[in-house]
Symmetry: C3
Subunit: 157 residues, 3 copies
C-alpha cells in the first residue's frame, strides 16, 4: 500500500466510499471521514454565490451517524437502488499531508420497477488526510450541478 501513488489511494478511497453507499451499508459511511470533519451537500448556484448553508451539513462523525439513523427510521424510505460512477480526480494541491482534490460524479437511480435515471451529478470538493490506516475525508463538499435538490437528501452522495 505504501508504494501506491496518491492517485491510486484516492481511487481506492472513492471506490470504497461509493460501494458502501450503493451496497446500502450506510453505517460504514461515517468511517470514511475524519473527526471532526465537514460534510455538505449544496448546489452549484449556491456554492458559486458563497452561500454558507447547504442542503445537508455535518461537522462530526456523530452527526453523520445521526443522519444515517434518521434515514433508517424514516418509514417512507423507498427501496430504490443507487449507483455511483466516480470520475477522474483532479489533484489540486497537497499541504501538510492534506490533499485538495476535485472529483466529478454521476449517481444513477434504479427504481423498483427497473427504470433508471440520472439522480445527481456534480463534483466532490475534498480535503483528504493521510491517517495511519489509509485516507480519510477531512472535508467533502458535494456540489450538485442541478438546482433541483429537494430529493437529494434521500441518501448520502
Amino acid at each position: 500500500m505504501a508504494a501506491d501513488s496518491l492517485r491510486d489511494r484516492l481511487a481506492q478511497l472513492n471506490a470504497d466510499y461509493a460501494r458502501a453507499i450503493d451496497d446500502d451499508r450506510l453505517e460504514a459511511w461515517p468511517g470514511f471521514f475524519d473527526d471532526p470533519c465537514l460534510y455538505k451537500i449544496t448546489s452549484a448556484d449556491n456554492h458559486a454565490q458563497g452561500m454558507p448553508a447547504g442542503l445537508v451539513y455535518a461537522d462530526s462523525r456523530g452527526m453523520l451517524a445521526d443522519r444515517v439513523a434518521a434515514l433508517r427510521e424514516a418509514t417512507i424510505y423507498e427501496r430504490q437502488r443507487y449507483r455511483h460512477l466516480v470520475g477522474l480526480p483532479c489533484v489540486l494541491g497537497e499541504q501538510a499531508g492534506v490533499a485538495s482534490v476535485e472529483t466529478p460524479f454521476l449517481v444513477m437511480r434504479i427504481m423498483r420497477d427497473g427504470t433508471m435515471d440520472a439522480f445527481a451529478c456534480g463534483r466532490y470538493l475534498d480535503k483528504v488526510a493521510a491517517v495511519q490506516d489509509g485516507l480519510r475525508f477531512r472535508e467533502r463538499i458535494v456540489v450538485c450541478d442541478s438546482a433541483r435538490v429537494d430529493t437529494l437528501i434521500a441518501i448520502p452522495l
Copy 2:
C-alpha cells in the same frame, strides 16, 4: 508492464474489455477470459437471494464464443451502439495470484435515430488471474441493478 501497479493493470484490462464490446469486436471478447471460466449476468435481487442461474451463463471460452456466434446469426440484431463507462475498481483481496475485484459500470445505448439512454448499470464481481501476457477473468459475474433484464441479453456486458 511489470512495473505497473495492479490497479493500473486492472484499469487497462477493463478498458480493453469495454472497448472490444463497444467497437463490436465481439469475437475478441472470449479472449479476456481464462479457460475454464465463469461468466454470468444476473440481477441484484437474484444475486442477493443467492439464486444460482443468471440470465446468461457460460463456463468456458467455447460457450462464450458460441454466444457471440448466436448473436451474429440473429437476424433481428439491431444496430444500436453501446458505450461502457467503467468506474473505479475496489480491490477486495488477492490470493495465490488471483485478485477479487468489484467494479461499477454504466452502459449507455445509442439508437439508430440518435437517442441515448441508460441501458444497464451495476457492478462486476471479478476474479482476475495474472497470466503470462497480462490479466484474465477467471470469473466475471455481472450484477445488474435493474430487475428489468429481459433485454440485457442483447450484448455482452
Copy 3:
C-alpha cells in the same frame, strides 16, 4: 510528477481538461493542445466511413481560441451546465514520446430548470505528447456515438 506512470498522467490530463470545460473556463481549453494540433468532433458513422470533415475542425491553438471567442459572443448561449465523465483510457501504443490513447466519455447536460440528460457519449482518439511541463494533445478526435450531432457545437467536448 516524473515518477508517475503514463496512465496517472493521462488521468490527470483528462481530469484537468474536463474540469476546465465544466467550470466554464473555456479560455484555458486551447492550452491543453500542442501547436499546431488537430481537434475534430465527428460522429461514429462519419468516422467509420472515413469522411474527412467533422462537425468541428481546428488545427492550431489560434483556431481553438477563435472558437471559444465565438461561443462567448453568441448571444443565444444558454447557461446550461455540463458534466464530463471520462472513462478508462486504452493506451494503444507509444512512439517517439507520443502516446496513442482511446478514452470513452459521457457528457451530461443540466438545464436551468434542473433536468439532466445525456448530452453526448463516445470516445476520444488522442495523440498525446510529453512536453516540458506535462502532457499536451497533439490530436484529439472526438467521435460521438450519436448521429444527432447538430447541437454538439455548443461547447467543446
